[in-house]
Protein backbone atom coordinates (compact mmCIF):
# COMPACT_ATOMS: atom_id res chain seq x y z
CA UNK A 1 0.00 0.00 0.00
CA UNK A 2 2.74 2.41 0.92
CA UNK A 3 4.73 1.41 -2.11
CA UNK A 4 1.76 2.11 -4.28
CA UNK A 5 1.17 5.48 -2.68
CA UNK A 6 4.83 6.34 -2.90
CA UNK A 7 5.05 5.56 -6.57
CA UNK A 8 1.87 7.45 -7.17
CA UNK A 9 3.20 10.43 -5.26
CA UNK A 10 6.53 10.47 -7.09
CA UNK A 11 4.70 10.18 -10.37
CA UNK A 12 2.44 12.97 -9.31
CA UNK A 13 5.50 15.04 -8.45
CA UNK A 14 7.00 14.42 -11.88
CA UNK A 15 3.66 15.20 -13.32
CA UNK A 16 3.44 18.52 -11.54
CA UNK A 17 7.01 19.47 -12.49
CA UNK A 18 6.56 18.64 -16.13
CA UNK A 19 3.22 20.36 -16.28
CA UNK A 20 1.97 17.95 -18.87
CA UNK A 21 -1.66 18.51 -19.52
CA UNK A 22 -3.17 15.75 -21.55
CA UNK A 23 -6.84 15.64 -22.28
CA UNK A 24 -7.38 18.99 -20.57
CA UNK A 25 -9.61 21.25 -22.55
CA UNK A 26 -10.71 24.81 -22.37
CA UNK A 27 -14.41 24.49 -22.96
CA UNK A 28 -16.74 26.95 -24.55
CA UNK A 29 -20.47 26.43 -24.47
CA UNK A 30 -22.05 26.86 -27.85
CA UNK A 31 -25.81 26.55 -27.86
CA UNK A 32 -25.84 23.66 -25.44
CA UNK A 33 -22.83 21.98 -27.04
CA UNK A 34 -19.30 22.01 -25.79
CA UNK A 35 -16.36 22.92 -27.99
CA UNK A 36 -12.64 22.79 -27.37
CA UNK A 37 -11.78 26.45 -27.47
CA UNK A 38 -8.01 25.94 -27.58
CA UNK A 39 -8.35 23.92 -30.79
CA UNK A 40 -10.55 26.52 -32.40
CA UNK A 41 -8.28 29.41 -31.41
CA UNK A 42 -5.14 27.75 -32.75
CA UNK A 43 -6.91 26.63 -35.92
CA UNK A 44 -8.00 30.21 -36.52
CA UNK A 45 -4.42 31.36 -36.13
CA UNK A 46 -3.26 28.67 -38.57
CA UNK A 47 -5.95 29.63 -41.08
CA UNK A 48 -5.06 33.29 -40.69
CA UNK A 49 -1.37 32.53 -41.32
CA UNK A 50 -2.19 30.50 -44.42
CA UNK A 51 -4.64 32.94 -45.94
CA UNK A 52 -2.59 36.00 -45.05
CA UNK A 53 0.71 34.74 -46.43
CA UNK A 54 -0.93 33.36 -49.56
CA UNK A 55 -2.79 36.61 -50.12
CA UNK A 56 0.31 38.76 -49.69
CA UNK A 57 2.50 36.56 -51.87
CA UNK A 58 0.07 35.93 -54.71
CA UNK A 59 -1.74 39.28 -54.67
CA UNK A 60 0.00 40.57 -57.78
CA UNK A 61 1.74 37.76 -59.67
CA UNK A 62 4.82 38.77 -61.65
CA UNK A 63 6.15 37.03 -64.74
CA UNK A 64 9.54 36.95 -63.07
CA UNK A 65 8.46 35.89 -59.59
CA UNK A 66 9.45 37.70 -56.43
CA UNK A 67 10.87 35.68 -53.52
CA UNK A 68 7.52 35.11 -51.81
CA UNK A 69 5.71 34.32 -55.04
CA UNK A 70 8.52 31.96 -55.99
CA UNK A 71 8.09 30.07 -52.72
CA UNK A 72 4.35 29.76 -53.20
CA UNK A 73 4.86 28.64 -56.80
CA UNK A 74 7.25 26.00 -55.55
CA UNK A 75 4.71 24.84 -52.97
CA UNK A 76 1.97 24.73 -55.59
CA UNK A 77 4.17 22.72 -57.96
CA UNK A 78 4.91 20.33 -55.12
CA UNK A 79 1.22 19.91 -54.28
CA UNK A 80 0.35 19.39 -57.94
CA UNK A 81 3.10 16.84 -58.16
CA UNK A 82 1.79 14.95 -55.13
CA UNK A 83 -1.76 15.01 -56.51
CA UNK A 84 -0.65 13.99 -59.98
CA UNK A 85 1.46 11.09 -58.75
CA UNK A 86 -1.38 9.67 -56.67
CA UNK A 87 -4.50 10.55 -58.67
CA UNK A 88 -3.25 10.50 -62.25
CA UNK A 89 -4.10 12.74 -65.15
CA UNK A 90 -7.44 13.94 -63.76
CA UNK A 91 -5.78 15.44 -60.71
CA UNK A 92 -6.73 19.04 -61.49
CA UNK A 93 -9.96 19.41 -59.48
CA UNK A 94 -8.41 17.69 -56.45
CA UNK A 95 -5.44 20.00 -56.05
CA UNK A 96 -7.33 22.39 -53.71
CA UNK A 97 -8.41 19.54 -51.44
CA UNK A 98 -5.04 17.81 -51.26
CA UNK A 99 -3.20 21.12 -51.13
CA UNK A 100 -5.33 22.55 -48.34
CA UNK A 101 -5.06 19.28 -46.45
CA UNK A 102 -1.28 19.34 -46.63
CA UNK A 103 -0.89 23.04 -45.89
CA UNK A 104 -3.35 23.04 -43.00
CA UNK A 105 -1.78 19.99 -41.40
CA UNK A 106 1.77 21.17 -42.01
CA UNK A 107 1.23 24.64 -40.58
CA UNK A 108 -0.81 23.19 -37.71
CA UNK A 109 1.85 20.67 -36.81
CA UNK A 110 4.68 23.15 -37.04
CA UNK A 111 2.75 25.77 -35.15
CA UNK A 112 2.69 23.38 -32.20
CA UNK A 113 6.47 23.32 -32.19
CA UNK A 114 7.36 26.80 -33.39
CA UNK A 115 4.72 29.20 -32.08
CA UNK A 116 5.01 30.11 -28.40
CA UNK A 117 1.49 29.03 -27.56
CA UNK A 118 2.41 28.43 -23.92
CA UNK A 119 2.95 32.15 -23.39
CA UNK A 120 -0.80 32.61 -23.69
CA UNK A 121 -2.41 31.37 -20.53
CA UNK A 122 -5.83 29.84 -20.71
CA UNK A 123 -8.10 29.43 -17.71
CA UNK A 124 -7.96 25.68 -18.26
CA UNK A 125 -6.01 23.47 -20.60
CA UNK A 126 -3.40 24.93 -22.88
CA UNK A 127 -2.91 26.02 -26.45
CA UNK A 128 -1.21 23.50 -28.71
CA UNK A 129 -1.25 22.36 -32.31
CA UNK A 130 -4.84 21.87 -33.56
CA UNK A 131 -3.83 18.39 -34.70
CA UNK A 132 -3.17 17.60 -31.06
CA UNK A 133 -6.89 17.09 -30.65
CA UNK A 134 -8.70 14.00 -31.87
CA UNK A 135 -11.59 16.12 -33.14
CA UNK A 136 -9.41 17.78 -35.75
CA UNK A 137 -7.81 14.62 -37.05
CA UNK A 138 -11.10 12.74 -37.19
CA UNK A 139 -12.77 15.67 -38.93
CA UNK A 140 -10.09 15.70 -41.62
CA UNK A 141 -10.11 11.91 -41.95
CA UNK A 142 -13.90 11.90 -42.37
CA UNK A 143 -13.62 14.63 -44.98
CA UNK A 144 -11.12 12.43 -46.79
CA UNK A 145 -13.60 9.54 -46.70
CA UNK A 146 -16.34 11.77 -48.08
CA UNK A 147 -13.93 13.02 -50.72
CA UNK A 148 -12.99 9.61 -52.03
CA UNK A 149 -16.58 8.40 -52.01
CA UNK A 150 -17.55 11.53 -53.94
CA UNK A 151 -14.66 11.01 -56.36
CA UNK A 152 -15.64 7.40 -57.03
CA UNK A 153 -19.37 8.05 -57.32
CA UNK A 154 -18.97 11.08 -59.58
CA UNK A 155 -16.56 9.20 -61.82
CA UNK A 156 -18.34 5.85 -62.10
CA UNK A 157 -21.82 6.38 -60.71
CA UNK A 158 -23.29 3.44 -58.84
CA UNK A 159 -20.79 1.19 -60.60
CA UNK A 160 -18.37 2.44 -57.98
CA UNK A 161 -19.81 -0.05 -55.51
CA UNK A 162 -18.78 -2.93 -57.72
CA UNK A 163 -15.29 -2.48 -56.32
CA UNK A 164 -16.54 -4.11 -53.11
CA UNK A 165 -16.79 -7.47 -54.82
CA UNK A 166 -13.47 -7.13 -56.59
CA UNK A 167 -11.59 -9.34 -57.20
CA UNK A 168 -13.98 -11.90 -55.62
CA UNK A 169 -17.19 -11.47 -53.61
CA UNK A 170 -15.47 -13.33 -50.75
CA UNK A 171 -13.52 -10.16 -50.00
CA UNK A 172 -16.72 -8.14 -49.53
CA UNK A 173 -16.42 -7.89 -45.72
CA UNK A 174 -12.79 -6.88 -45.92
CA UNK A 175 -13.54 -4.31 -48.58
CA UNK A 176 -16.30 -2.84 -46.44
CA UNK A 177 -14.01 -2.90 -43.43
CA UNK A 178 -11.46 -0.89 -45.37
CA UNK A 179 -13.82 2.07 -45.49
CA UNK A 180 -13.74 2.16 -41.73
CA UNK A 181 -10.05 1.45 -41.25
CA UNK A 182 -8.98 4.16 -43.65
CA UNK A 183 -10.28 7.16 -41.69
CA UNK A 184 -9.45 5.42 -38.43
CA UNK A 185 -5.82 4.85 -39.33
CA UNK A 186 -5.50 8.31 -40.89
CA UNK A 187 -6.84 10.13 -37.86
CA UNK A 188 -5.13 8.06 -35.19
CA UNK A 189 -1.77 8.09 -36.91
CA UNK A 190 -1.75 11.87 -37.05
CA UNK A 191 -3.23 12.36 -33.60
CA UNK A 192 -0.84 9.91 -31.97
CA UNK A 193 2.24 11.23 -33.68
CA UNK A 194 1.62 14.87 -32.91
CA UNK A 195 0.49 14.26 -29.35
CA UNK A 196 3.41 11.96 -28.64
CA UNK A 197 5.81 14.39 -30.23
CA UNK A 198 4.64 17.30 -28.10
CA UNK A 199 4.56 15.15 -24.98
CA UNK A 200 8.11 13.92 -25.51
CA UNK A 201 9.35 17.46 -25.94
CA UNK A 202 7.47 18.71 -22.89
CA UNK A 203 8.66 15.87 -20.68
CA UNK A 204 12.25 16.18 -21.84
CA UNK A 205 12.21 19.93 -21.32
CA UNK A 206 10.90 19.42 -17.81
CA UNK A 207 13.58 16.85 -17.02
CA UNK A 208 16.58 18.41 -18.76
CA UNK A 209 15.87 21.97 -19.72
CA UNK A 210 19.11 22.43 -21.66
CA UNK A 211 20.45 21.12 -24.99
CA UNK A 212 19.04 17.60 -24.72
CA UNK A 213 15.53 18.41 -26.00
CA UNK A 214 16.87 20.22 -29.07
CA UNK A 215 17.49 17.13 -31.24
CA UNK A 216 14.09 15.83 -30.18
CA UNK A 217 12.54 19.15 -31.17
CA UNK A 218 14.13 18.91 -34.60
CA UNK A 219 12.96 15.32 -34.85
CA UNK A 220 9.52 16.63 -33.92
CA UNK A 221 9.61 19.16 -36.73
CA UNK A 222 10.64 16.43 -39.13
CA UNK A 223 7.89 14.10 -37.93
CA UNK A 224 5.31 16.85 -38.17
CA UNK A 225 6.19 17.54 -41.78
CA UNK A 226 6.26 13.87 -42.64
CA UNK A 227 2.88 13.30 -40.99
CA UNK A 228 1.32 16.14 -42.96
CA UNK A 229 2.78 14.72 -46.15
CA UNK A 230 1.63 11.19 -45.31
CA UNK A 231 -1.90 12.36 -44.57
CA UNK A 232 -2.13 14.35 -47.80
CA UNK A 233 -0.50 11.61 -49.89
CA UNK A 234 -2.78 8.92 -48.47
CA UNK A 235 -5.84 11.08 -49.02
CA UNK A 236 -4.75 11.56 -52.63
CA UNK A 237 -4.03 7.84 -52.95
CA UNK A 238 -7.50 6.93 -51.67
CA UNK A 239 -9.11 9.37 -54.09
CA UNK A 240 -7.00 8.04 -56.94
CA UNK A 241 -7.81 4.47 -55.98
CA UNK A 242 -11.55 5.10 -56.04
CA UNK A 243 -11.26 6.90 -59.39
CA UNK A 244 -9.19 4.35 -61.23
CA UNK A 245 -10.97 1.82 -63.38
CA UNK A 246 -11.43 -1.81 -62.44
CA UNK A 247 -11.11 -3.84 -65.59
Amino acid sequence: MNVLLCSINTLKGLYDISGVEVGQHFYWQLGGFQVHAQVLITSWVVIAILLGSAFIAVRNPQTIPTAGQNFFEYVLEFLRDVSKTQIGEEYGPWVPFIGTMFLFLFVSNWSGALLPWKRIQLPHGELAAPTNDINTTVALALLTSVAYFYAGLSKKGLGYFSKYIQPTPILLPINILEDFTKPLSLSFRLFGNILADELVVVVLVSLVPLVVPIPVMFLGLFTSGIQALIFATLAAAYIGESMEGHH
Binding site: L4, V22, F33, I47, P130, T136, A139
Partner: protein, 218 residues
Protein backbone atom coordinates in the same frame (compact mmCIF):
# COMPACT_ATOMS: atom_id res chain seq x y z
CA UNK B 1 -7.31 -9.55 -14.03
CA UNK B 2 -10.71 -8.25 -13.05
CA UNK B 3 -9.28 -7.29 -9.69
CA UNK B 4 -6.48 -5.45 -11.31
CA UNK B 5 -8.83 -3.52 -13.49
CA UNK B 6 -11.01 -2.74 -10.52
CA UNK B 7 -8.04 -1.63 -8.54
CA UNK B 8 -6.86 0.60 -11.29
CA UNK B 9 -10.26 2.08 -11.70
CA UNK B 10 -10.38 2.65 -7.99
CA UNK B 11 -6.98 4.21 -8.02
CA UNK B 12 -8.36 7.38 -9.49
CA UNK B 13 -10.61 8.32 -6.61
CA UNK B 14 -7.83 7.13 -4.32
CA UNK B 15 -5.46 9.62 -5.76
CA UNK B 16 -7.69 12.60 -6.15
CA UNK B 17 -8.37 13.36 -2.50
CA UNK B 18 -4.64 13.28 -1.81
CA UNK B 19 -3.98 15.73 -4.54
CA UNK B 20 -6.73 18.07 -3.56
CA UNK B 21 -5.77 17.99 0.08
CA UNK B 22 -2.80 19.75 1.58
CA UNK B 23 0.41 17.74 1.62
CA UNK B 24 0.88 18.34 5.39
CA UNK B 25 -1.69 15.76 6.42
CA UNK B 26 -1.56 12.76 4.17
CA UNK B 27 -1.75 10.31 7.11
CA UNK B 28 -5.30 11.25 7.86
CA UNK B 29 -6.36 10.63 4.33
CA UNK B 30 -5.21 7.08 4.09
CA UNK B 31 -7.78 5.53 6.42
CA UNK B 32 -10.45 7.37 4.49
CA UNK B 33 -9.32 5.73 1.33
CA UNK B 34 -9.53 2.24 2.67
CA UNK B 35 -12.98 2.80 4.12
CA UNK B 36 -15.14 2.56 0.99
CA UNK B 37 -13.34 -0.49 -0.32
CA UNK B 38 -12.34 -2.64 2.57
CA UNK B 39 -12.40 -5.88 0.62
CA UNK B 40 -10.01 -4.70 -1.98
CA UNK B 41 -7.61 -3.22 0.53
CA UNK B 42 -7.51 -6.57 2.28
CA UNK B 43 -6.77 -8.21 -0.97
CA UNK B 44 -4.02 -5.72 -1.55
CA UNK B 45 -2.17 -7.00 1.45
CA UNK B 46 -2.27 -10.55 0.22
CA UNK B 47 -1.08 -9.64 -3.23
CA UNK B 48 2.53 -10.44 -3.97
CA UNK B 49 5.09 -7.73 -4.61
CA UNK B 50 5.25 -8.47 -8.33
CA UNK B 51 1.54 -7.84 -8.76
CA UNK B 52 1.97 -4.75 -6.67
CA UNK B 53 4.55 -3.49 -9.12
CA UNK B 54 2.26 -4.10 -12.02
CA UNK B 55 -0.47 -2.41 -10.06
CA UNK B 56 1.62 0.66 -9.51
CA UNK B 57 2.50 0.64 -13.17
CA UNK B 58 -1.15 0.51 -14.02
CA UNK B 59 -1.82 3.29 -11.63
CA UNK B 60 0.92 5.29 -13.25
CA UNK B 61 -0.51 4.74 -16.68
CA UNK B 62 -3.94 5.62 -15.46
CA UNK B 63 -2.39 8.73 -13.96
CA UNK B 64 -0.82 9.84 -17.19
CA UNK B 65 -4.13 9.53 -18.88
CA UNK B 66 -6.08 11.06 -16.02
CA UNK B 67 -4.24 14.17 -14.98
CA UNK B 68 -4.56 15.64 -11.53
CA UNK B 69 -7.63 17.73 -11.18
CA UNK B 70 -7.61 21.21 -9.83
CA UNK B 71 -11.17 21.70 -8.77
CA UNK B 72 -13.22 19.67 -6.38
CA UNK B 73 -14.86 17.68 -9.15
CA UNK B 74 -12.99 14.76 -10.63
CA UNK B 75 -12.26 15.53 -14.23
CA UNK B 76 -12.03 12.60 -16.56
CA UNK B 77 -9.18 12.46 -19.01
CA UNK B 78 -10.88 13.79 -22.07
CA UNK B 79 -8.42 12.52 -24.63
CA UNK B 80 -11.11 11.10 -26.88
CA UNK B 81 -13.64 13.77 -26.23
CA UNK B 82 -15.69 14.23 -29.36
CA UNK B 83 -17.95 17.22 -29.45
CA UNK B 84 -19.03 20.12 -31.62
CA UNK B 85 -15.36 20.92 -32.33
CA UNK B 86 -15.33 18.20 -34.97
CA UNK B 87 -18.00 19.63 -37.31
CA UNK B 88 -16.65 23.13 -36.71
CA UNK B 89 -13.18 22.04 -37.81
CA UNK B 90 -14.76 20.37 -40.85
CA UNK B 91 -16.52 23.59 -41.77
CA UNK B 92 -13.37 25.60 -41.15
CA UNK B 93 -11.41 23.25 -43.38
CA UNK B 94 -13.93 23.50 -46.19
CA UNK B 95 -13.98 27.29 -45.91
CA UNK B 96 -10.19 27.34 -45.91
CA UNK B 97 -10.21 25.12 -48.99
CA UNK B 98 -12.52 27.44 -50.90
CA UNK B 99 -10.67 30.54 -49.76
CA UNK B 100 -7.24 29.13 -50.64
CA UNK B 101 -8.60 27.98 -53.98
CA UNK B 102 -9.86 31.48 -54.66
CA UNK B 103 -6.75 33.39 -53.61
CA UNK B 104 -3.97 30.87 -54.15
CA UNK B 105 -4.43 27.63 -56.09
CA UNK B 106 -6.59 28.82 -58.98
CA UNK B 107 -5.11 32.25 -59.70
CA UNK B 108 -1.47 31.27 -59.26
CA UNK B 109 -1.97 27.98 -61.08
CA UNK B 110 -3.66 29.74 -63.97
CA UNK B 111 -0.92 32.35 -64.00
CA UNK B 112 1.79 29.70 -64.06
CA UNK B 113 0.10 27.74 -66.85
CA UNK B 114 -0.34 30.88 -68.91
CA UNK B 115 3.30 31.79 -68.41
CA UNK B 116 4.33 28.29 -69.45
CA UNK B 117 2.32 28.45 -72.65
CA UNK B 118 3.61 31.97 -73.35
CA UNK B 119 7.22 30.84 -72.95
CA UNK B 120 6.60 27.83 -75.18
CA UNK B 121 5.00 30.03 -77.81
CA UNK B 122 7.92 32.42 -77.67
CA UNK B 123 10.36 29.56 -78.06
CA UNK B 124 8.45 28.27 -81.07
CA UNK B 125 8.30 31.74 -82.58
CA UNK B 126 12.06 32.02 -82.17
CA UNK B 127 12.44 28.86 -84.23
CA UNK B 128 10.13 30.42 -86.83
CA UNK B 129 12.22 33.58 -87.07
CA UNK B 130 15.29 31.55 -87.88
CA UNK B 131 13.40 30.33 -90.94
CA UNK B 132 12.27 33.86 -91.61
CA UNK B 133 15.87 35.03 -91.44
CA UNK B 134 16.83 32.42 -93.99
CA UNK B 135 14.01 33.55 -96.24
CA UNK B 136 15.06 37.16 -95.86
CA UNK B 137 18.64 36.24 -96.67
CA UNK B 138 17.50 34.48 -99.81
CA UNK B 139 15.42 37.48 -100.72
CA UNK B 140 18.41 39.75 -100.21
CA UNK B 141 20.55 37.49 -102.36
CA UNK B 142 17.89 37.56 -105.08
CA UNK B 143 17.71 41.33 -104.91
CA UNK B 144 21.47 41.53 -105.17
CA UNK B 145 21.49 39.19 -108.16
CA UNK B 146 18.76 41.22 -109.86
CA UNK B 147 20.62 44.44 -109.19
CA UNK B 148 23.81 43.00 -110.54
CA UNK B 149 22.04 41.76 -113.65
CA UNK B 150 20.41 45.12 -114.10
CA UNK B 151 23.69 46.91 -113.74
CA UNK B 152 25.48 44.65 -116.18
CA UNK B 153 22.58 45.04 -118.63
CA UNK B 154 22.70 48.78 -118.31
CA UNK B 155 26.43 48.68 -118.75
CA UNK B 156 26.14 46.59 -121.86
CA UNK B 157 23.44 48.78 -123.23
CA UNK B 158 25.46 51.86 -122.59
CA UNK B 159 28.52 50.28 -124.16
CA UNK B 160 26.55 49.36 -127.22
CA UNK B 161 25.01 52.79 -127.46
CA UNK B 162 28.33 54.51 -127.15
CA UNK B 163 29.82 52.24 -129.74
CA UNK B 164 26.98 52.96 -132.11
CA UNK B 165 27.36 56.64 -131.54
CA UNK B 166 31.04 56.44 -132.09
CA UNK B 167 30.53 54.44 -135.24
CA UNK B 168 27.91 56.85 -136.47
CA UNK B 169 30.16 59.76 -135.84
CA UNK B 170 32.97 57.94 -137.49
CA UNK B 171 30.83 57.18 -140.51
CA UNK B 172 29.65 60.75 -140.66
CA UNK B 173 33.16 62.00 -140.51
CA UNK B 174 34.26 59.63 -143.20
CA UNK B 175 31.33 60.65 -145.35
CA UNK B 176 32.16 64.30 -144.84
CA UNK B 177 35.76 63.72 -145.69
CA UNK B 178 34.77 61.77 -148.77
CA UNK B 179 32.35 64.44 -149.81
CA UNK B 180 34.96 67.07 -149.35
CA UNK B 181 37.40 64.95 -151.29
CA UNK B 182 34.88 64.49 -154.01
CA UNK B 183 34.18 68.16 -154.05
CA UNK B 184 37.86 68.95 -154.18
CA UNK B 185 38.33 66.46 -156.99
CA UNK B 186 35.40 67.88 -158.88
CA UNK B 187 36.74 71.35 -158.41
CA UNK B 188 40.10 70.18 -159.62
CA UNK B 189 38.52 68.58 -162.66
CA UNK B 190 36.58 71.72 -163.41
CA UNK B 191 39.63 73.85 -163.11
CA UNK B 192 41.42 71.43 -165.40
CA UNK B 193 38.59 71.63 -167.90
CA UNK B 194 38.51 75.38 -167.58
CA UNK B 195 42.18 75.54 -168.09
CA UNK B 196 41.91 73.17 -171.06
CA UNK B 197 39.04 75.26 -172.47
CA UNK B 198 41.01 78.45 -171.99
CA UNK B 199 43.93 76.80 -173.57
CA UNK B 200 41.74 75.72 -176.54
CA UNK B 201 40.55 79.25 -177.12
CA UNK B 202 44.03 80.56 -177.00
CA UNK B 203 45.41 77.78 -179.11
CA UNK B 204 44.86 79.54 -182.53
CA UNK B 205 46.44 82.79 -181.45
CA UNK B 206 49.20 80.96 -179.86
CA UNK B 207 49.84 78.77 -182.87
CA UNK B 208 49.72 81.85 -185.17
CA UNK B 209 52.14 83.54 -182.88
CA UNK B 210 54.35 80.51 -182.97
CA UNK B 211 54.10 80.30 -186.75
CA UNK B 212 54.85 83.94 -187.09
CA UNK B 213 57.80 83.61 -184.86
CA UNK B 214 59.07 80.50 -186.61
CA UNK B 215 58.35 81.78 -190.10
CA UNK B 216 59.51 85.44 -190.04
CA UNK B 217 59.93 86.04 -193.69
CA UNK B 218 56.85 85.32 -195.63
Amino acid sequence: MANVIMASSNAKPLVSPIQSSLPSKPRIQIPQISLPTPKISQKFISISSSTLKSLSLLAATSLTFSPPCFAEEIEKAALFDFNLTLPIIMAEFLLLMFALDKIYFSPLGKFMDERDTAIKEKLNSVKDTSEEVKQLEEQAAAIMRAARAEISAALNKMKKETQLEVEAKLAEGRKKVEAELQEALAKLEKQKEDTVKALDSQIAALSQEIVNKVLPVQ
